[in-house]
């Protein structure tokens, strides 16, 4: 059985995949069902090659990165433990890092500009959507980003301004309200004294009325 090889070219990038048909999946003669090796060549950079798992990692890193950049979000995809990682660089370029599965091999770092990134994305898209390459790539479909993922696109000042202004307005109003004089509150003591006085007066009246009785005149 002849090994199949397909090439995807895009200006500054060339992706080549080699493999064999998967007979158990009833693939035709011209269909790659089992990927044996792949190579990726950028203009002015060393050629990259690897196995299926490395290409899977490339797809799982580069395509989500492109998706984020399309929405204006600059975010690193792939961590230090991943075979492939892609992160935005300070000069506006994109840092592609590839880590070999063999021990003692230093990671390879390639700096891509926007055009080279687009070329790489197009090559990967062309390969994964090619009917002649029937491999089940573990990829998620493109979906709208969540608001929290888009938050970093908004400048920090704009994000914090509503909270700061709202909190400041609340404190200002609370301070102004605290300066207002409190209304007078009548104490309970004054109300109990006014109720006791009418009870004492009737007791005093009989004592006061006794001296006022006229003395009875005695006969001479």
């Amino acid at each position: 059985m002849l090994k199949l090889s397909y090439r995807y070219d895009q200006t500054a990038a060339r992706l080549k995949v080699e493999g064999l048909p998967d007979i158990s999946a009833d693939h035709g003669d011209g269909v790659i069902g089992i990927l044996s090796t792949w190579t990726l060549q950028f203009v002015g950079s060393p050629e990259l090659e690897g196995k299926r798992e490395h290409l899977e990692a490339m797809l799982a890193t580069v395509l989500p990165y492109a998706r984020f950049r399309l929405s204006g979000v600059s975010r690193r995809c792939g961590d230090d433990a991943s075979p492939v990682s892609l992160a935005p660089a300070e000069d506006g370029r994109h840092q592609l890092e590839l880590r070999s599965s063999q021990p003692g091999v230093e990671p390879l770092s390639i700096s891509l500009d926007d055009a080279e990134l687009c070329d790489l994305v197009r090559c990967l898209d062309a390969m994964r959507l090619d009917q002649r390459v029937q491999i089940a790539w573990p990829l998620s479909t493109d979906r709208p980003l969540a608001r929290r993922e888009l938050a970093e696109r908004v400048p920090l000042v704009n994000r914090l301004a509503p909270s700061v202004l709202g909190g400041g307005a609340f404190l200002l109003v609370a301070g102004l309200v605290s300066l207002l004089p409190l209304p007078e509150v009548k104490t309970p003591k004054s109300t109990s004294a006014s109720t006791e006085q009418p009870a004492e007066q009737p007791a005093e009246r009989p004592a006061q009325s006794a001296p006022t009785e006229p003395a009875t005149p005695q006969a001479e």
């Binding site: 070219d9 895009q10 200006t11 500054a12 203009v43 002015g44 395509l63 492109a66 998706r67 950049r69 399309l70 929405s71 204006g72 370029r93 500009d113 926007d114 055009a115 080279e116 687009c118 070329d119 994305v121 197009r122 898209d125 062309a126 994964r128 959507l129 479909t141 493109d142 979906r143 709208p144 980003l145 969540a146 608001r147 888009l150 938050a151 696109r153 908004v154």
Partner: protein, 191 residues
């Protein structure tokens, strides 16, 4: 491989069937879509004619039978000087996205030249100046200049950054897979 001399084959490969899609864009998505179409016109002097041609090639003449209908649909952008309140149907939205991606694919060599750091810096600067001037002229002619976001486009520094993002967006929307990617991006919620 993209060949500038060959007749461009319109490629709007998508993982999803046209009839199954329920594409609905919010206000911001409509603004971005029209702005990207405007950028295509700024990049290609015959962009308007090319869009009509792309509509025919892609089989969307039932949705946009002529250039007037295409223009009417683009005027649903709230930032336009004269806006139409009729909402786009999901089929019309999807058709506009596919037309845009087909145009981006056709213009990919030019997009690549603008974004590449390997081109001579002076030449790249001239190209950006030309594209920027055309885009500003189109924006001033068709958009409502009292809107803040339109004024940002016309400013020098902020406008240049937005123009680069627009060109980068077109480059990522070109080719196979670009339709699904762009559609998902246009459906992003407003942050």
């Amino acid at each position: 491989m993209t060949d500038a001399l060959a007749t461009p084959a319109l490629d709007t490969t998508s993982n999803q069937k046209f009839s199954d899609l329920k594409t609905a864009l919010d206000r911001r998505g409509l603004e971005r879509l029209d702005l990207l179409l405007l950028t295509v016109e700024a990049l290609d002097l015959n962009g308007g004619e090319a869009m009509v041609w792309a509509t025919q090639q892609l089989g969307f003449t039932d949705l946009f039978p002529n250039r007037v209908e295409l223009w009417k649909r683009r005027c649903t952008n709230p930032l336009r000087r004269s806006t139409r309140r009729t909402a786009l149907t999901s089929a019309e939205t999807e058709a506009l996205i596919r037309i845009l991606c087909a145009m981006a694919d056709r213009l990919y060599p030019m997009l690549h030249q603008l974004l590449s750091s390997r081109e001579p810096a002076a030449l790249t600067e001239q190209r950006w100046a030309l594209v920027g001037q055309r885009l500003r002229d189109l924006v001033a002619e068709r958009m409502n200049l009292r809107r803040g976001s339109v004024q940002k486009l016309l400013q020098d520094e902020q406008g240049a950054s937005i123009q680069r993002q627009l060109v980068f967006t077109l480059a990522l929307a070109a080719g196979p897979g670009g339709v699904d990617r762009l559609r998902a991006s246009l459906e992003d919620p407003t942050p």
